[in-house]
């Protein structure tokens, strides 16, 4: 558990981060979202003390981040940034091995860990281990950057706009991969982005920052349904709000008994996609299947009910 306790950062008397407090649960993804200059990156960098807070405290599993040296703290916290920051003169394997090497792991243990991570990120170890960053594509570089941040099994992974440099298709895949890997490893992740769509997609909880203040902290559904301020309402996007909300839920949660005509949809399809199929094919209900067996149906009425602000 990460506890951020009334943390502030002043630059020349002006607060870049203003008394922010929040608690992050273990094994969840928390996304900090805001416009540029909102203080989101400063907040993230205060957690591994790349920026020293003017006041307030951060505790990881109950221990203050000031109870250990900066370098020891950072070696325990993974750090992945926009533009990956891989060392151009190190091979992929050496890049991933940086923190384990700093921690003094044995070379067999490091080699095993490098291969394990490369496989986890769908990069064939024999093929990619000895390559240099200049020989990888943007998506591959980003994956190696995240693998490097996870190498020493850190208590916490900090990510600053990790997908900022990727094109939309690769970006979507990277988000899916991150979710999968986070669930496999049970990692605790704090991620900064300016993209509300990404925040909704990835976050178990979303923290919205505006002018150095934390204006709302909650689940994506809470933030869409009850935006705390006008700023948050703007961030989640006026007319698109209902569709964004629908994209958060799979149809499996809204299955009812009964039959429906036509082609069926998978249980993990989002309500947003189901709505789109209903409109496209002119149907009022869709059959829902899971692993090839029929679960029931989802109706346009049920979707409409979920989309309305309760």
């Amino acid at each position: 558990m990460i506890e951020i306790d009334k943390i502030s950062k002043l630059y020349d008397g002006v607060a870049a981060v203003d008394e922010v407090s929040m608690t992050v649960d273990t094994a969840t993804i928390t996304v900090i979202v805001g416009t540029s200059g909102s203080g989101k990156t400063t907040l993230l960098r205060m957690i591994n003390r790349l920026v020293e807070p003017t006041s307030g405290e951060v505790r990881i599993n109950g221990k203050s981040t000031h109870s250990v040296s900066k370098t020891d703290l950072r070696r325990r916290i993974g750090y992945a940034i926009q533009g990956h920051g891989l060392f151009p003169h190190y091979t992929v394997a050496r890049n991933i091995a940086i923190v384990p090497t700093l921690l003094g792991w044995s070379s067999e243990k490091i080699d095993d860990r490098v291969d394990e991570l490369l496989s986890l990120f769908a990069l064939e170890p024999d093929q990619y281990r000895d390559r240099f960053p200049a020989e990888l594509s943007g998506g591959q570089l980003q994956r190696v950057g995240v693998a490097r941040a996870l190498a020493s099994r850190p208590d916490l992974l900090l990510m600053d706009e990790p997908f900022g440099a990727l094109d939309p298709i690769i970006r979507a895949q990277a988000q899916i991969d991150l979710r999968r890997i986070q669930q496999t490893l049970g990692s605790t992740i704090m991620l900064v982005t300016h993209d509300m769509e990404e925040a909704m997609q990835l976050g178990d909880r979303v923290a919205v920052m505006d002018q150095g203040r934390l204006v709302q902290y909650g689940t994506p559904a809470e933030i869409i349904q009850n935006p705390a301020t006008e700023f948050v309402a703007n961030m989640v996007g006026g007319v698109d709000r209902s569709l964004r909300l629908l994209s958060l839920f799979p149809v499996s949660e809204f299955v009812e008994d009964g039959s429906a005509e036509g082609e069926s949809v998978e249980a993990n399809t989002s309500l947003r996609d189901a709505l789109s199929i209903c409109l496209w094919t002119g149907r009022d209900a869709l059959p829902v299947v899971q692993d090839g067996s029929l679960l029931g149906r989802v109706t346009l009425d049920a979707i409409r009910k979920r989309a309305a602000i309760s």
Partner: protein
């Protein structure tokens, strides 16, 4: 298929220019014959030098060499042309000198004339242009340099050129020449070493402290703008005063004139390139790389030795290259204040209006500076951090 190899006879623009200039140079006096080492000599064009058995092969090689340099599609042929031309040039020089001296008197001197120097420059430029086209790998370049230096030493050692005036000046000063060479190298490399020892830590400090950087770099730039003669003018009273007030300083050889002020002046001049390139070398690591290194918990020293220095090494070495080449040239001025080095001959020659003595000091300096520049360029290239897996494809691995 590369069109250039398809047999088109494209003309090389620099080749044409060099050939025109080369042919014009053939009309200028190739050598001068003087009654003694001081008086002005009489110019002789290439065809007035000696008998046809000497002139024809020499002139033919030069002309063919210049013509071969015209074909832009064949860099190897152009290189061969330059080598052939140079061979002809030195053939004429070595073969005609003894013939010219015959019956010209005991004190007569022959020396290369305007035409020779122009042709030498033209053919060396042709060679450099052809080599640029071929863009040889660093180790090949080093090998070429070694070959050229060896050939030069064989040529000088063989006695084929010993009838030339400049070689006669050398013969009468052999001992002094080697002392001057050692002193020159000592001044140039010694002051570079001292500048490195001071400049590298200073550069690292400047990199970390913007305040220090804002003070140190302008001061070093200012030092660089002081003309070298003025610098010695400042050194002489300053070091003279130190020597007269601190006995220990005098004991280790500090004095107003001689080695000490020359060494100190060269040291001050070389600090700017060393420190400035140190700072920009360390800054050359991408911002995201430096941020990641910090964020992963690398200490200041780990970041310096594992990230900033390896990535900045080419820029840092380029600074040392500038300082070294600059020092080799500037060390000539040391001759003026009794600092020794090749400058001694240059200033003696100026006083005696003996051009060949000036050349005895100037030519080795130029050769030394060129050699140092080429060796350092190769070093800079070799230290480019390896950023590709060429070695996995069975190609030689660059040191990382």
């Amino acid at each position: 298929m590369i069109p250039a190899r398809a047999g088109t006879f494209g003309l090389s623009a620099p080749g044409v220019l060099l050939a025109l200039f080369g042919f014009a140079s053939l009309l200028a006096p190739f050598m001068t014959l003087a009654a003694n080492r001081i008086v002005e000599g009489k110019g002789l064009t290439a065809w007035q030098l000696a008998g046809p058995e000497v002139i024809y092969p020499g002139l033919l090689s030069i002309i063919i060499g210049l013509i071969l340099g015209l074909f832009s599609s064949w860099p190897r042929v152009r290189l061969a042309g330059a080598v052939l031309g140079l061979a002809g040039l030195f053939w004429l020089l070595s073969q005609s000198a003894p013939q010219l001296l015959q019956g010209a008197g005991e004190y007569a001197r022959v020396s290369p004339g305007l035409g020779f120097w122009c042709l030498l420059a033209v053919l060396i430029l042709l060679m450099a242009d052809a080599l640029t086209q071929l863009s040889p790998r660093p180790m090949t370049r080093l090998g070429l340099l070694l070959t050229i230096v060896t050939v030069l030493f064989i040529l000088l050692g063989s006695g084929a050129l010993s009838d030339l005036s400049i070689m006669k000046e050398y013969a009468s000063r052999q001992g002094a020449f080697y002392n001057a060479a050692l002193r020159h190298l000592g001044l140039a490399f010694g002051s570079l070493a001292a500048a490195t020892v001071i400049g590298i830590p200073l550069g690292i400090l400047c990199y970390h402290h913007a305040g220090l950087r804002r003070i140190a770099l302008p001061i070093l730039s200012f030092l660089q703008t002081i003309p070298s003669l003025a610098m010695f003018g400042i050194m002489i009273p300053l070091l003279g005063w130190i020597a007269s007030t601190v006995p220990a300083a005098k004991a280790i050889g500090i004095a107003g004139v001689g080695f000490a002020p020359a060494f100190l002046a060269l040291l001050l001049y070389s600090l700017l390139p060393v420190v400035a390139n140190m700072v920009s070398g360390l800054q050359s690591a991408p911002e995201s790389v430096r941020d990641a290194a910090r964020g992963m918990g690398m200490t200041l020293m780990q970041r310096l030795f594992r990230v900033e220095l390896p990535l900045g090494l080419p820029v840092i070495l380029a600074g040392l290259r500038i300082a070294l080449v600059q020092n080799i040239g500037l060390a000539v001025i040391a001759g003026l204040i009794g600092g020794g080095g090749f400058g001694t001959f240059v200033f003696q020659g100026l006083n005696q209006t003996a051009t060949d003595l000036i050349l005895l000091g100037a030519l080795p300096t130029v050769a030394l500076a060129l050699t140092a520049a080429i060796v350092m360029d190769v070093l800079v290239e070799v230290t480019q951090p390896s950023q590709s897996a060429q070695h996995t494809q069975g190609m030689p691995r660059k040191p990382s």
